[in-house]
């Protein structure tokens, strides 16, 4: 080996660097393409969600609105007004958004989710009319308009939705995040997508979810949004947790004969628990707020919807105190769930002093 060989080494390293950069660009492109393919499939007429999810490039899709708007600007006259009028809320979108009674909406009659919710609410309604004979609800709760079916169902529905969303998102986020440790290609495809959607603050993205996915099938919108949000967070938390495992520990495992499987099982899985658990607490805390917020935006069932109704009733009844009661209810619920989590996490991280110090 001579100094010329050393220069060859250098050239080789540079080629390798360039190759990696090109590869990562290709992966980003593949990732974005896959995302749209998934979206198009979900919105396809054969898909069960086809009514609730507009196609990305179709006549009523959000992109269409934006494209039309941008196109309008080039057209000249009244273009900016056109753009703002149509941005995300074209006439077709408004038809999806504004409706009188979701249960009677013809588009919902055959929707399985709709039927589940309707029958649940019907059962609840029957039970309530049998027990409470129509008298006013006790203060601080305000009696709700008839079509609201009482309080219990709203609160219960919200809790269940948020927990389902958080659970689905956690499973998905961890599955993607942890599998990306064993299969690096998963990370190369998913990280660009996650970063793309992760940069938009979720509370800004929430109204768009409601507009895009519609309010007729709230279970889709709330669960969908909470799932989406938890998936992103849990993906990032699991990746970061794994990256924070010292390289030396992984190398040590390798020289002890560690296989990808055994390293996953005995190094990554237990070693990422404290950070993932901490991340889960953050994700769940966000999910409570997010779930209720989405319901305020126009969904017809759930605690958030109650807040929405009380907003209209303020001044006429004891609405403010009812509102406070509701918020207190959710706050107390979040604290209780968090306390249960804390006990579980304490157990899982009993090996780590740091975990205990961080109060994880």
């Amino acid at each position: 080996m001579t100094s010329k060989d050393v220069l060859d080494v250098r050239a080789k390293a540079q080629r390798e660097k360039r190759r990696r950069r090109i590869a990562s660009i290709i992966y980003i492109a593949i990732g974005i393409a896959l995302f749209f393919v998934a979206w198009i499939l979900l919105a396809h007429e054969k898909s069960p969600w086809n009514y609730d999810i507009p196609p990305p490039f179709g006549a009523v899709g959000p992109f269409q609105d934006i494209f039309q708007g941008v196109w309008g600007i080039f057209q000249g006259e009244g273009a900016i007004a056109h753009f703002w009028r149509n941005l995300g809320t074209s006439q077709d979108m408004k038809i999806k958004f504004v409706h009188a009674c979701p249960d009677l909406h013809p588009a919902n009659v055959n929707n399985p989710f709709r039927q589940v919710i309707s029958s649940l609410m019907g059962w609840k309604y029957t039970a309530e009319t049998a027990i409470v004979t129509g008298g006013p609800a006790p203060v601080p709760f305000v009696q709700l308009p008839d079509y609201c079916y009482g309080y219990g169902i709203h609160l219960l529905v919200t809790i269940v939705r948020i927990l389902i969303g958080a659970a689905l998102g956690t499973i998905a986020g961890l599955a993607i995040g942890l599998s990306s440790l064993v299969f690096p290609k998963v990370a190369q495809v998913f990280t660009p997508i996650a970063s793309f959607f992760g940069t938009a603050p979720i509370f800004i993205a929430a109204p768009f979810f409601v507009i895009w996915f519609g309010v007729e099938v709230p279970i889709m919108t709330t669960i969908g949004l909470v799932t989406f949000y938890t998936t992103l967070l849990m993906y990032f938390f699991s990746r970061r947790a794994a990256e924070n495992i010292p390289v030396g520990i992984v190398e040590s495992a390798l020289t002890l004969g560690g296989t990808p499987r055994s390293i996953f099982r005995w190094v990554y899985l237990p070693g990422t628990v404290p950070e993932i658990a901490g991340g889960f607490r953050i994700a769940l805390a966000g999910a409570w707020g997010l779930g209720v917020l989405v319901e305020v935006l126009g969904i017809q069932v759930g605690g958030g919807h109650l807040i929405d109704i009380w907003r209209f009733l303020i001044g006429q009844l004891q609405a403010p105190s009812a509102l406070v009661a509701l918020i207190t209810f959710y706050a107390a619920l979040a604290v209780v769930v968090d306390a249960i989590l804390l006990v579980i996490i304490r157990y899982l991280t009993r090996w780590s002093e740091a975990g205990r110090r961080l109060g994880l």
Partner: protein
């Protein structure tokens, strides 16, 4: 079963982000017989860790190769277990599970695994702490866990990169005894990196001296064992010390001035 370890025309060039090229290993050639205790000595940044990482399969060489018997080293494996300078015990596993890790990866059956683990925990004197968390142990005890984990996977070559560097004198001497006992009982080949000449004199059959990535000397240490203070003060030992110091670029005057 035991195999000769050979380094053949080994080069390792690193390019730093700044563009700086570093020749960490410079045409290194030597062979180690089964059962030898080799100490690799050199100044800081002169390629000791790199040599061990290449042999461990954690660092691919730029040119040349490392062989274990007939097979060329291509990646890390349980036949070359390594004890690192930093703390690499898994903090989330009990002491016993730490020692069991390699055996599980190798899919050793349960009874055999329990037996082997118990044996090595006993050999390093940690039987009573098998169910403790690593954070409940002292630094020296954690090093013993790492040693037991490496021994348990049954490799015939053990790599140790300044394993006792961060420990106090007494703990070190104690671990030297533990290590020498294990070595004598198992006749494994041991590569032990150190920059402490006294440590090399206590442990080594042979000292490999690295300077700027080059193998500058290969010194046999034919002192009787156990190497107590008297033996390390003998004229043969002092000669070896002087040779090492000279190669490290420290003349005798310099050494006495310090």
């Amino acid at each position: 079963m035991s195999r000769v370890v050979s380094f053949e025309g080994l080069w390792c060039v690193f390019e730093h982000r700044s563009g700086q090229l570093v020749n960490a290993l410079h045409d290194v050639n030597f062979e180690v017989q089964p059962g030898e205790f080799v100490c690799v000595v050199g100044r800081s940044g002169h390629g000791k860790t790199t040599l061990l990482r290449v042999l461990a399969g954690l660092q691919p060489p730029t040119a040349g190769q490392t062989r274990l018997g007939d097979s060329v080293v291509e990646g890390p494996g349980a036949d070359r277990a390594m004890v690192f300078q930093q703390d690499t015990v898994f903090p989330w596993l009990h002491v016993r599970e730490n020692v069991e890790f390699g055996l599980r990866a190798l899919k050793v059956d349960d009874a055999e695994r329990e037996r082997t683990t118990a044996h090595w925990l006993d050999a390093v004197g940690l039987t009573d702490f098998a169910d403790s968390w690593p954070r409940e142990l002292s630094g020296g005890m954690r090093k013993r866990v790492a040693l037991a984990s490496a021994m348990a996977v049954g490799s015939d070559v053990i790599l140790m990169d300044e394993p006792f560097g961060s420990l106090d004198y007494f703990t070190r001497r104690n671990l030297h005894d533990v290590l020498l006992d294990l070595w004598e009982a198992t006749q494994k080949t041991i590569f032990f990196v150190t920059h402490d000449i006294e440590e090399a004199l206590i442990l080594a059959d042979r000292v490999i001296l690295l300077a700027e990535g080059k193998l500058v000397d290969d010194i046999p240490v034919n002192l009787p064992r156990p190497r107590d203070e008297d033996i390390r003060a003998s004229s043969a030992a002092v000669d070896i010390t002087k040779t090492i110091l000279a190669h490290l670029g420290i003349t005798e005057e310099e050494a006495t001035q310090v």
